[in-house]
Symmetry: C3
Subunit: 152 residues, 3 copies
C-alpha cells in the first residue's frame, strides 16, 4: 500500500521537516542510510514539556512518542521526497524524560514503534533502544532519533 494513502487513512498530515533547535541538520544521508537528528516531542507546535513518573502518565507518553514519530516521518519525507522509497526503518533511539522510579520507557516508546509499523508494514519493523534520561533540551518529555534505509 502507498505510504501516503495509509497516512491519509489514519488522518495524519505530515509536518515540514523539523527545524533544529541549534547548529545542526535535521538529517544527513550517507550511502543508503539516512540519519535523522533526535526530534523533541511537540504539541500544538510547542515543545511538549513533561517528565514521565512526575505528573505524566504512560498513556500520555505514548501519545507524545506517536507525535514524535509523525514529525520524524515529516523529516523523512523531506529527506526522500517519497516515503515509498524507504526500504526499512532501521533503528530508533528513544529518550524518555524520566524520574528515577519510572520503568515503562518501552511502553511509552511503543507509541512511535506501533505507528511506524502501521504506516510502513514490514518495512517499519525496526531495532530499538529506549531508556530514561535525566533531562532533555527545553524540558521536552521525549526525544527520538531514527535511522532509515533507502534504495539498495
Amino acid at each position: 500500500m502507498n505510504v501516503y494513502d495509509k497516512l491519509q487513512s489514519l488522518g495524519i498530515q505530515l509536518p515540514a521537516a523539523s527545524v533544529p533547535a541549534a547548529s545542526y541538520a535535521p538529517f544527513v544521508r550517507s550511502g543508503n542510510l539516512i540519519f535523522l537528528s533526535g526530534h523533541l516531542a511537540r504539541r500544538d507546535g510547542q515543545i511538549w514539556v513533561g517528565r514521565l513518573g512526575a505528573g505524566m502518565s504512560t498513556e500520555q507518553g505514548k501519545e507524545a512518542a506517536r507525535a514524535v514519530a509523525i514529525d520524524l516521518m515529516g523529516t523523512l519525507h523531506a529527506a526522500t521526497s517519497d516515503l515509498n522509497a524507504i526500504v526499512q526503518i532501521v533503528k530508533l533511539m528513544s529518550l524518555v524524560n524520566s524520574t528515577a522510579d519510572f520503568t515503562e520507557q518501552h511502553l511509552v516508546t511503543n507509541g512511535a514503534s506501533d505507528l511506524l509499523a502501521e504506516v510502513f508494514g514490514d518495512r517499519g519493523k525496526h531495532a530499538r533502544s529506549a531508556f530514561g534520561v535525566a533531562q532533555l533540551p527545553l524540558g521536552a518529555c521525549m526525544e527520538i532519533e531514527l535511522i532509515a534505509q533507502v534504495g539498495e
Copy 2:
C-alpha cells in the same frame, strides 16, 4: 579459532534471540551492518533489576554486562546463522542504570567488552559509549545496544 569452539571452551551456551519487550525487532540488517536492539540484563531468565551506586557494586555490574553480551551473541547467532561470518563488532552503546554519584560505567561495561574481545579476537574490538541513565525499562540494571558488520 572457531567462535563456537571458543564459546564452548568458556562454558558459554548461547540463548535464542532475545524476545523484545515491546513492538520492535531484536535486530535489523542493513547492507553489511546488523543493528541489534538494546538488550536488557537478565539473570536466571528474569530481568536483572538494580541500580549501580545503590546496592549494586561495580563487580556485579560487570557480571550483568557480561550476561548482556552473551544474550547479544545469541541474537547475533540468530541474525547470521554463523558467528564466524562476523567481520567486526563495530560499536556498543552501554546504558548503566546509575545513581547521580556512580562514575564507573566504563568499568561496568568492560564486562561486555572483555568478553567480546575474548570470543572474537581482533574482530571483537569495538568502538563504544558508556553512560549512566536515570532509569531503564522494567528497572533493569543494564541495557546494551550493538552494531556488527558481516561480509565485505
Copy 3:
C-alpha cells in the same frame, strides 16, 4: 579550504587519538563509515569533572563540548591520516552530565557542532542528538560520540 590550514587559523593543535579509559578501541571503520567511541571532556589533559545545572554554566559546558570536538578531530586524524578525506560528519551523540533541572543540552552541544561546521564547512553539518544523562564515567561533564563518512 584545507582542513589543517583552517585548524591552524583557529589556533587549534590536534591531540593524538584519545586513549580509551577501558577495553575498547577509539574508533572502528566499517565500509565508508568511521565510528568514534564516546570521548570524555578533558581540560589540561585531565578529565573535566562537573555537572551542568550544579556549579557549571551553559557557557562552561559549551567550552567543554568544544574541547571534546577537538579531541574527536584528533582521533579522526588518526583514523584517516588526512582530515581532508572526510566527506561528511554524519552524526553526533552528545551526553551532557545534567541535573534534573538543566534543559540547555542543545546549547551546550553547540560548542562542538559550531566548531565542526567552522572547520569542515558544509561537510561538517551533521545530524545530532543531545540529552542529559544521570552520570558519566569518571564524573566527566560531557561525552560525545561521532560517526563520519570517508571516500564514496
